[in-house]
Amino acid sequence: MTPEISNQSLAFLVIFVIVPLTLSYYYQLGLSKSVIWSTIRGTLQLFAIGYLLTYLFDLPALIGIPIMVSIMIIVATFHARQKGKELPYAWPIIFVGLIAVEISVLSLWLITDMVQFRPSEVIPMSGMIIGNSMVAMGLALERMKSEFKENNGRLLAALSLGAEPKQASHLIVQRTLNAALIPNIDQLKTIGLVKLPGMMTGLILGGVEPVMAIKYQLVISLSIFSSVSLSAMFVTLAMYRFFFNKNKQLLETEEEIRSRS
């Protein structure tokens, strides 16, 4: 049985919007406009994607998959780039990184027969990989910037002792990767106990047997784990060098970093 929510039922979702709206009005949060706008925008976006996906799923895999995956990577690149605007070459590095992560994960899925090369499987699964990688890259960039600022003295100390920028940044890279991995480690530890992951919930609601749903969830959770690690490592290792000039001196202001290239 495929469950379906009727359009009339859907209309009652308005009630769920009235709650935050009332709160905003009552406590004068000034968020009413944002609440309405984000709800409308979110709804339209989802329907548009719904129709687009229906269309793409009907296309031959070799056309539908590249189109949608490219769109996802481009949007994700521009989104993640926001966190590293002041760094030179931020967007090409993120772009290449996302492509590399997507290709490696996808190839593994296909080679091991975990996922079939069908738009209806590859597109949603890739979306999760690219989305999580995008967040991981953005967080890694932000974290790296703040670690560089926070550890300014230690970096100077390391350089002053004769360390190469790579050696001096070791601590920063370590901490950035640590910060990127810990939420995923924690999530994996409690997966299924605290909350059922979204994908699994969706499959179960869609009528798939729980054990089957878990298999898919495992594939996606572990793939996300590895792609998030890869993403964070990729941007960190590609970007740390922009905090130094060719004379192995630490650049301390945003202007210096921006004008480095």
């Binding site: 003295g153 230690r154 100390a157 390391a158 002792l161 004769g162 004379n247 192995k248 001196q249």
Partner: protein, 228 residues
Amino acid sequence: MFRFENVSQEPLKDLTFTIEKNEKVILFGPSGAGKSTLLYLFNRLHDPETGRIEYKGKSIREHSVTNLRKNVGLVLQAPNLFPGTVLDNLKYGPSLFDEWDESQAKTLLEYVQLPTSYLDRDVNQLSGGEKQRVSLARTLANSPEVLLLDEPTSALDYRTAEEIEEVLEQLIDEQQLTMVMVTHDMNQAKRLGDRGLFIMDGNLQEDGRIPEMLENPKTKLLADFLHD
């Protein structure tokens, strides 16, 4: 050892002076005069906007950056120790050049008068004075020829500062180091230095022997500074 020729780097304007081997130079002047900036130039953590700096008769740009930094050791104002143990910090510099020898550890701690039992101690457990000693030992581990000190005792209480000073005095004599130290403490300057460079408004205002220049300043600027 060092020669500065018309060097400028915000806020320093136009500095020319030479430092000979084994000199113990005190850099002093009001806050913001550019004293720390000057130390960073010696160690090439910064490069001057204009002018030329020579080390051992050769422009510092012609030396390998990492070797220069190893030979011209800098002790920063804050200890800035690396996370880990005291030993991790001591071996950091020499390990970069594959020169670490375990037997060094004991000697280094002796230099800064810390017991050997401290080697395995986590740096978070150290007091302010102990951290500064480790920071000094970490720089000495590289066997530098020149020791640059950026107000090494400014964050410490009077007694701890005096202890560090004693350590420094002994070290510099024993190791035949050339020293350039920034300090605000004129008594410390008298105890540790033999030459003073007084920097104010970005310029070298007076260059003389210590303690003579502190007792009989030639310029009104220095007299006023010492009076304040």
